[in-house]
Symmetry: C2
Subunit: 595 residues, 2 copies
Amino acid sequence: MEWKRTHNCSELTTENTGDEVVLKGWVDTRRDLGGVIFIDLRDRYGITQIVFYETDENLHQLAEQLRREYVIAIKGIVEERGEENINDEVSTGRIEIRVEDLKIYSEAETTPFEIKEGIGTSEELRLKYRYLDLRRPDVQENLVLRSDFYKSTRDYYHENDFLEVETPVLMKSTPEGARDYLVPSRVNPGKFFALPQSPQTYKQLLMVSGFDRYFQIVKCFRDEDLRADRQPEFTQIDVEMSFVDEEDVMASTEGLMKKLMKDTVDEDIEAPFERLTYEEAIKTYGTDKPDTRFGLEFADFSDHVKDSEFKIFSNTVEKGGAVLGITVPGQGDMGRGAIDRLTERVKQETGAAGLIYIKLNEEDGVKCSVEKFLTEETVDAMVETADAEMGDLVLILAGPSPDVYEQMGKLRLMMGKEHDLIDQDAYNFLWVTDFPLVEYSKEDHRYHALHHPFTAPHPDDLDKLDDEPEEVRSRAYDLVLNGYEIGGGSIRIHNRELQTRMFGLLGIDQEEAQKRFGFLLDAFKYGAPPHGGIALGVDRIVMILAGGISLRDVIAFPKNQKAQSLMDNSPDYVDQEQLDELHIELKKDINKLDE
Amino acid sequence: MEWKRTHNCSELTTENTGDEVVLKGWVDTRRDLGGVIFIDLRDRYGITQIVFYETDENLHQLAEQLRREYVIAIKGIVEERGEENINDEVSTGRIEIRVEDLKIYSEAETTPFEIKEGIGTSEELRLKYRYLDLRRPDVQENLVLRSDFYKSTRDYYHENDFLEVETPVLMKSTPEGARDYLVPSRVNPGKFFALPQSPQTYKQLLMVSGFDRYFQIVKCFRDEDLRADRQPEFTQIDVEMSFVDEEDVMASTEGLMKKLMKDTVDEDIEAPFERLTYEEAIKTYGTDKPDTRFGLEFADFSDHVKDSEFKIFSNTVEKGGAVLGITVPGQGDMGRGAIDRLTERVKQETGAAGLIYIKLNEEDGVKCSVEKFLTEETVDAMVETADAEMGDLVLILAGPSPDVYEQMGKLRLMMGKEHDLIDQDAYNFLWVTDFPLVEYSKEDHRYHALHHPFTAPHPDDLDKLDDEPEEVRSRAYDLVLNGYEIGGGSIRIHNRELQTRMFGLLGIDQEEAQKRFGFLLDAFKYGAPPHGGIALGVDRIVMILAGGISLRDVIAFPKNQKAQSLMDNSPDYVDQEQLDELHIELKKDINKLDE
């Protein structure tokens, strides 16, 4: 019925010269040269030049109708190009096809934007016509990379004896952390399923069942107010292992990353990865996901300035705050105007109250913006602690803890980007460990789990669980790549009593715990192995590997920041009949919107 | 922190004799023999016998505490068993471990049912304690098989240049066919997402985007009234290819099946598979998913009996019905009592009005239950057409078409099972082709697509599309294995005008079509390749390969027939606050239930 395609548009070379071939694809570009029509025929694999000569009049007339994005099949003979026409930038650049027959499968209207790399079209238009946006070679490459990523990941876990198990998408709502997406049940009136924020409880149950090593690449869902880099549905590599400690999970994950980086972007990376405790990360970089592709580590001046006459410094330290500095290399001669503008930006973007600096340059020597309040020894001590050299600029923030660390973290990133200190070719993996188990929420008047309620407390800190819970470290670990948190995991609680205590600490009493997590607590009664695991963000990692700037660059059909799909206009209103069957109705004020 | 596990419970052999090893797992059984304690230690991989001698009193006392399902780690020395204790049914049956140290990770209460193969416990109890049910070796084997199945499938498609692309779970509701599961949107008040019944439109858009070959193993959802072999969420292998016809998709799918059968159950199967048109399947087996592991093909007696005096026969044929027979081998001497019971069952289970038969046995010769109304020639002609031999029983149904075919199909299956005619070791694959494009629904007073609205009509039948739509064949094909429909697909419409006509035929006018499927219709404007694909039911196929009788046997955490998870009691009521945020409320009568 159809002509059989013999090759794709990237395969033919001079070795095929003289062969009769059938190619199928899209008209990418068309040139009419003195009656001879040249067309670049495009498919997912590449581009091949096809040529219509005037010798066959009917064929030539048909070819004259062809426009960009027409879908065609051609039959023809492979011919070598003349020396002057060779294009070694494409794999097929030394041949062309003399067309002998043509079929038009589909005509095409003019597309709302051009099908080519790096266009300036608004994202809104691109999302509306996502099926055209997906024709652009760079977006196609991203999805090819993503497909390779899946394969590499699954190969790794299968090779290492992990079982791939699917867990339910329709599950129980256990609001803790982010909001659940809910699904009304038609056959169980008034009841709802929730979409998984993660298969956490299921994977732990699989360990209790004795599956030993589990993995899954799985869709998860969070109904959050979307930020630039969030999607309502996202994909994670979900892993759990029995009879392991932190070292086992980290080593296994490092193995995956080594393989992934090799398979997808041909990078050899070193393992084991660098590690920082949570405290070290905050003290050094002001964040628990530091970008370690550049330095600018914090210097702590608090001890130097705690007795200084400069009240902003001494009061800050006295109240438990800190005075921190970073040394920006080569910026020691920044002018007053530039520093003023920087100060304004620092206030706006980091929330810091002000910016203090020490400039080191040949002209002025060592110049501190508040030097009249500081002794020379103090300034010298600061310069030494900051490891600053002639030509450098030391930027200083003072403020209450932990805010000042976060502010300085932002300033550090700002400087790293502005002064090109970041090695764009580097892939810096980093483990952050020893997180606090809980943090106190002033809003809710209770403790929240920093990771989730199933994370095991550090055994050395168990005695502080009741009286000083904020001092308890957890057995959690995050994986950071180039300043992005790409994964997080922990050793879990596998003991009913400890899990119940943990729930209690989080304000979930025994009755409530039994109602919401009874199945897990009960499972622990029948022999539970020590276990732990990790979840890795597929979208985020692929985005980094693709050099993308948005998760939407690496998702075939993404939602926008209002959780809408502009292409098919979803979510959308539904028929009243559908709602009736689900035993729900819209709230009164919404009904009006619908009319 | 932990002892490092050196081996799993299936690995150790006499080659390890003398080695110090660490094993971890569950206490499967325990025997106390004159002070020496033998324990079978179990993990996912196997069982190893470990032995506690009385020489170490502390250790022995600790060992005495061990009960079934305790989770432990042991350190010990591998020793050869004495000849008399060798058990070659397990891989570790020639060794045992002399335990030197023991750690108890978790005690265990007595489980509500025994952890062993093939227990008689009620499914309800097993589903409630699914995490214990999953410890049973046969259920574990099913999930291992399923994991292998995923790997084999993905390897096949990656090897054949298919791209793995994830499509959205939160999509647009397009009620057509089964009911959608809906998800209220919090940030778009009054609007709803739907969970995909299949990624059909997305995969077609990927073809329009030029991805050429797509596959995905993907969860899909149907809110149906559940039958024995349905789950609200199910998994399918989803495939789409560009520039193909039926032969390409079928050949590609056969390649997958060959590999799958080899990789998972070590079976070599023949391809290409047998094919039947829809009409042939119905005429021969009374179903579009015939089990071809046994014969009992229908004989059509209509021509022989259309002029007979037996009014039930002649009237049936006159009104366009049919008189059909099947020949059950070796049952020619079935007694009157047995035949009466069979007749009752046939009426009840197939809906047929009655059962007529011809017995062929040495004692009575050829004996027809209505022979007084039929000539001898007619009976002889029926016997010949039915290919019946001495000793056989010909069962005959007469009735309107198409009901009588369906009834006879059920009777055929009944006989096949009862008389052990089905080769339980066979895997019979079959393609069914040339389905009708649409069928008329008397209930809805309109045509429904037999597959879905995107299925291409057969080009030879296009002229009948407006006036005789029921006569139009589609380019759809179903894959059948041992009487189960395991997959279905088609060549799709890739032309805006034809798709619009098709929607019109289904009662969806242009405005409605644009509202619901405008994104697809618009996509066809910009150059769409011919394309087609298939979707294969993972749960069903794995069930058949596992020799299971229910989909629940091969799903880690299945729902029951009320779409409930008994383990975690989902779906469940949710907080009023959650509903408020989603701008929905329960219908008044439901609210009362909640109180």
